[in-house]
Structure formats: C-alpha cells, structure tokens
C-alpha cells in the first residue's frame, strides 16, 4: 500500500515539473512576470512531493520550501488580483509565523518523525495554519472573481480557468485541516495513521495537481470545448465617423 502511495506521489511530482516547464514557455511568450511565480511554485511543489515520498531528502530545507511554495502562490494571487487596491498583508504573516514556529520546533524535535506528542500537536496546528490559510484564501479570491464573471460576456474557457484554479486550492486547504485530525489519529491509532496520512496527502495533491494542470495548461481543444456554445462577438472595429453617427443617433 505504502509503495503504491509513494509511486503516486512521485508521479504527481513529475507532473508538477512538467507544469513548471510548460509555464516557463508561457511566461517567456506572454512576458507576464507573475507567471514566473507559478513556475517556481510548481518546482517547489515537486520538491515537496518528492521529499514526502522519501525520493529525496530536503532535511531542514523542507519547511523553507513548503513556506516558499505557499508564499509564491499567495504573491501570485496578490499581484494578479490586488494591484492598486488595499493589500491583504495578513495572509503573508499566516505563512511566515508558522514557518518560524516550524524552524524552532525542529531545533528541539523532528516533528515529522512523530516521536513526541506535544511537538506533534504543535506541528499539527502550525501545519494547519501554514497550509489551510493561504490556500483557502487563494480559493476564496479566485472563486469570488469567478462569481463576478459568471454571468458576464466572457469566453467560457476563461471562466473555467477561474473555477478550476480556485477549486483546486480547496484540496490543499482540506489537507491542512486533516493535519489536526492527524494528531488525534497519531495518539489513538499509532503507526497506521502515517499510511493513512500519506493516502490523504496523495489524494489531495493529485486533485490539486490535476486541477492546476488543466487550469494553467488548458490546451486549445479544451478551450474550444468550453467555448462550444459561445459565439465570439464580431471583432469589427468601428471607425470614428461610425461612432459619431451612432452617438448622434442615440441622442436624437
């Protein structure tokens, strides 16, 4: 069972690598700088997954990379949705503070080894805040915009990108909630919980990665499929004279 879960996590890590490579191409082509945040996030996620599957050992860097991954995605959402608006800096603190706690915790006890119930309890809480808050926030921001656009005359594939990307974050958020239950399982069930945790983790990251891949890569045939019932409006551009006539007509 554990081998199957580990293999799944490794496959998902490689999908994240592929996603990062595709996004590099998109970032270069469009010259949109924020896409680079998604590129680095995908690389970071791939490393996290490979580390979780014990394919590589990140050691003390693990917390930094987890924190960096969450931070990158929050900066991406911040820069994409909040430029020129009142910023929501509290969300950064919800990542940075748990990361610092994680570092301190690791100085005294490797909480990932679940040897000490108290540190595991703290680990559960910091991991919950670190994982759930940024992803639920991203999900809220993206889905809120989706609801704004839902009934507007916008190509459906764009709306679907909002819907899928926003929904994908929920699986990471739920994973954060699970860490709280994990502490309970750790004390009451023992070793089994680690296999169980790996299973929950692999399901959550599989949903997230597939959703993210579809949302950000979205090949042309899929865009056409989402647009199948949508008539792209006539792109005809009116001349200055035509506009003047229309406005005069509107006033007469």
């Amino acid at each position: 069972m554990e081998q199957v879960i580990n293999n799944t996590i490794v496959i998902i890590a490689f999908i994240q690598f592929i996603l990062a490579l595709i996004l590099i191409n998109k970032a270069v082509k469009t010259k949109i700088q924020v896409i680079w945040l998604l590129v680095f996030d995908s690389f970071a996620q791939a490393l996290i997954f490979l580390s979780f599957a014990k394919f590589i050992d990140l050691g003390f860097l693990f917390i930094s990379i987890v924190g960096m991954s969450h931070l990158l995605i929050v900066i991406f959402v911040h820069e994409t949705f909040y430029k020129g608006q009142k910023r929501v800096y509290f969300i950064y603190l919800l990542i940075i503070i748990p990361c610092v706690i994680g570092y301190i915790l690791n100085l005294f006890d490797d909480s990932m080894s679940y040897t000490n119930p108290i540190s595991t309890y703290i680990f559960a809480w910091y991991n919950f805040i670190l994982t759930s808050s940024p992803h639920f926030w991203c999900s809220y921001v993206i889905l809120k915009q989706y609801l704004v656009f839902r009934n507007k005359d916008i190509q459906p594939w764009i709306k679907m990108r909002y819907l899928i990307a926003g929904s994908s974050h929920i699986s990471w958020g739920i994973l954060g909630i699970y860490t709280l239950f994990h502490w309970y399982f750790f004390l009451n069930i023992g070793y089994i919980s680690i296999t169980y945790a790996s299973m929950v983790f692999s399901i959550a990251i599989t949903i997230f990665t597939i959703g993210y891949f579809i949302a950000w890569v979205m090949p042309e045939p899929l865009k056409k499929f989402f647009n199948r019932n949508y008539e792209i409006s006539d792109d005809k551009e009116l001349s200055e004279e035509e506009i003047m006539q229309i406005i005069k007509k509107g006033r007469s």
Binding site: I32, V34, V148, L238, I243, I247
Partner: protein
C-alpha cells in the same frame, strides 16, 4: 491578452454613453491607438493611462457629459477585474 478586459470596459462605458458595447469598445480601441499607436500587449498601468488621457480626450470630443465620473468608474472596473489580464493571457 487584453481583449477580454477591453470588452468588459466597453460594456461598462456603454452604460454611460447610451451606445452598444461594440461601439463603446471601439471608442476604447481608438483611445488605445491614440495613446500607443497600436493595440499591443496592455497591462493595468498602460490601460489606466489610456483611460485618464486618450479616452478622456475622446469622450470630450464626442461631447459626453460628466466625463470625470465615467473615467473614475472605468478605473474602478479596471482594478476590480484586473485579474483577467493574466488569466486570459495564455
């Protein structure tokens, strides 16, 4: 990449000047050409400049009343919907 945003702004502008969204979209496109010479890749800062400069002048030429309120509301719509510039770009 900015087509969707221009359409959204066109819909918003149409509410104020009593023309179809296609006509108001054309006004915005003409304003962009006034500002930059062509319709290239536009980001939020470039579009903000179009609204406050070229579009304002165009609306003035067309004899539209209460231009400052219109521009202010278009800027609000631009900021509120800015994510589409990235989300619809690739």
């Amino acid at each position: 990449m900015s087509e969707s945003m221009i359409s959204l702004l066109g819909i918003e502008l149409a509410k104020y000047i009593n023309v179809s969204p296609i006509a108001s979209r054309s006004i915005i496109l003409l304003a962009i050409k006034d500002e930059y010479g062509s319709i290239g890749d536009l980001n939020i800062d470039k579009l903000q400049l179009v609204l406050s400069n070229a579009l304002k002048i165009r609306l003035n030429k067309l004899g539209i009343p209460d231009i400052d309120t219109i521009i202010e509301d278009l800027e609000k719509a631009l900021i509120k919907n800015q994510s589409i510039l990235t989300m619809a770009s690739f």
